[in-house]
């Protein structure tokens, strides 16, 4: 029933000579939420940034394969622009551009070279509606995005990514800078969004992984300790380390 969206095979990642991710093998399933959990410095963020090649900026060296849409995205000569529009990303700290709300959402479309004003207008409104932001800000679409609250800014960043029609959405600790209420809203949002796309979320918050995800991946010291259905992992983890982390014995 579940369909594989991304497949990771024997994936290793190095910064300089330091091995940060070791022999990662993994499947990401379509229309599911996969949570990546683990203690600080274990390689969670590095792993999620591997899916859209954001580690390139830190001179990462990789080997092994990450197969998406039948191609290995680690290939030297893939179209990175195209990859990053298909696999969108939302960051830890809300980072809307200091432009208007409208320009933020339209940004990706304009980069793609789309000039059709009515198409962009439509897409902006739809993306904002998809993140339940439109009704809150429909009268001030052309105000600076900086005037929004932290939670609204983060939803705007999700809308900005959605405007590109991505197939996969990467969220790197999207709620760690937000208050509980905004966090709840984003968690509910993921529930809806996963009907249309595949979601991978890194989180520090174990309870959040339990609430939002279908699959959970526990990494420790750059290696996968356990990967499986969230329900199962949270009730009957196979590995002792996983159990200790989930129950808060270390972390």
């Amino acid at each position: 029933m579940v369909k594989e969206k991304i497949k990771v095979e024997n994936f290793n990642l190095y910064f300089k000579d330091k091995k940060v991710l070791n022999n990662i093998n993994l499947s990401i399933f379509e229309n599911k939420v996969t949570a990546i959990i683990g203690p600080s410095g274990c390689g969670k963020s590095t792993l999620i940034r591997s899916f859209n090649r954001m580690n390139d900026f830190y001179n990462a060296k990789v080997d092994g394969k990450i197969i998406f849409d039948g191609i290995n995205i680690n290939d030297r000569n893939i179209d990175l622009s195209n990859l990053r529009t298909k696999i969108g990303m939302v960051f830890q700290k809300p980072n809307p551009f200091p432009f208007s709300i409208y320009d933020n959402v339209a940004f990706g479309l304009k980069v793609k070279g789309i000039n059709d004003k009515s198409f962009i207008d439509e897409k902006v409104v739809k993306s904002l509606k998809d993140v339940w932001l439109y009704d809150e800000i429909k009268d001030r679409l052309f105000d600076s995005a900086m005037s929004l609250s932290g939670g609204q800014q983060q939803r705007l960043c999700i809308a900005r990514a959605l405007a590109n029609d991505p197939e996969v959405l990467l969220l790197d600790e999207p709620t760690s800078a937000l208050d509980p209420k905004s966090t709840q809203k984003i968690e509910e949002l993921l529930e809806v969004l996963k009907k249309k796309l595949t979601i991978i979320i890194v989180t520090h918050n174990i309870a959040q992984a339990g609430r939002v995800s279908d699959y959970t991946l526990f990494i420790y010291l750059g290696e996968i300790v356990e990967f499986g259905e969230t329900k199962k992992m949270f009730t009957a983890p196979e590995n002792k380390k996983t159990e200790e982390y989930i129950t808060g014995i270390f972390g």
Partner: protein, 282 residues
Amino acid sequence: MRKFKEFSFEFFIYLSTLITIISLFIFLIPIFKNGYKGIFPEFLFTFPKNGMTEGGIFPAIVGTFYLTILSTFFSFPVGIITAIYLAEYGKPKFLVDMIRTSISTLSGIPSIIFGLFGLSFFVVRFSLEVSLLSGSLTLAILSLPIIIRSVEESLKSVPVTFKEAAYSLGCSKFETIYKVSIPVAFPNILTSLILSIGRVAGETAPIMFTAATLYSRRLPKSLSSEVMAIPYHIYGLVTEGVSPEKQIPIAYKSAFVLLLLVLIVNLSAIIIRQKLRRQRRW
């Protein structure tokens, strides 16, 4: 004892600040006192008469304006592009090191040397004569290090998170620079550029041998004309001529006008920055 240390430290802080402010006023007061009378409109809009002993400084104002604006035509593009290279590309290392060494060397050279360089290079070697063009080129080189450094600083102050966002939305490096980095840094870039104009407008030595003439009854007609310029005019009034008692008051007035111009330029830079910053906060 600790109290005493604290007290004496604060005392020196206030003293130093006070000295700075007082020297500014000691410097400004005589110029304002002797210079403000009869400025408007005759002095600003008439030509000098009787060998600089009467009349106004209209051609000097126009000359300074031309020199400054023309120099930005050369210095802005080169300066901005170099700054982008240093801030955003910064590879290979040996080239960057070479550029940085050149910039710091350039900024340490006394301005009279720029004047002599302009004379031998533009005026003589390239046969551009003593002209508006030679002078602006010399001024452009003089202002390059200031422009490059401040524009680079502006670009570097753009948060990395904005660039990451741009890349994650499919931007190439070039698109990230011109769709995000430059627009975000724009208020600061604009301010630095305007401030560099203020700096260039007051330079005397670089234009002495390359562009300026002491006395002209006409406005510059082309790029190859000699021009009058306010700073050099002041220098001439004080050091040359036969009737200092008539020339010194004119020098004061000219100094007042020059100060006012630079002040207006700097003030407009501050206002523009404030205005643009209010719209972009992060």
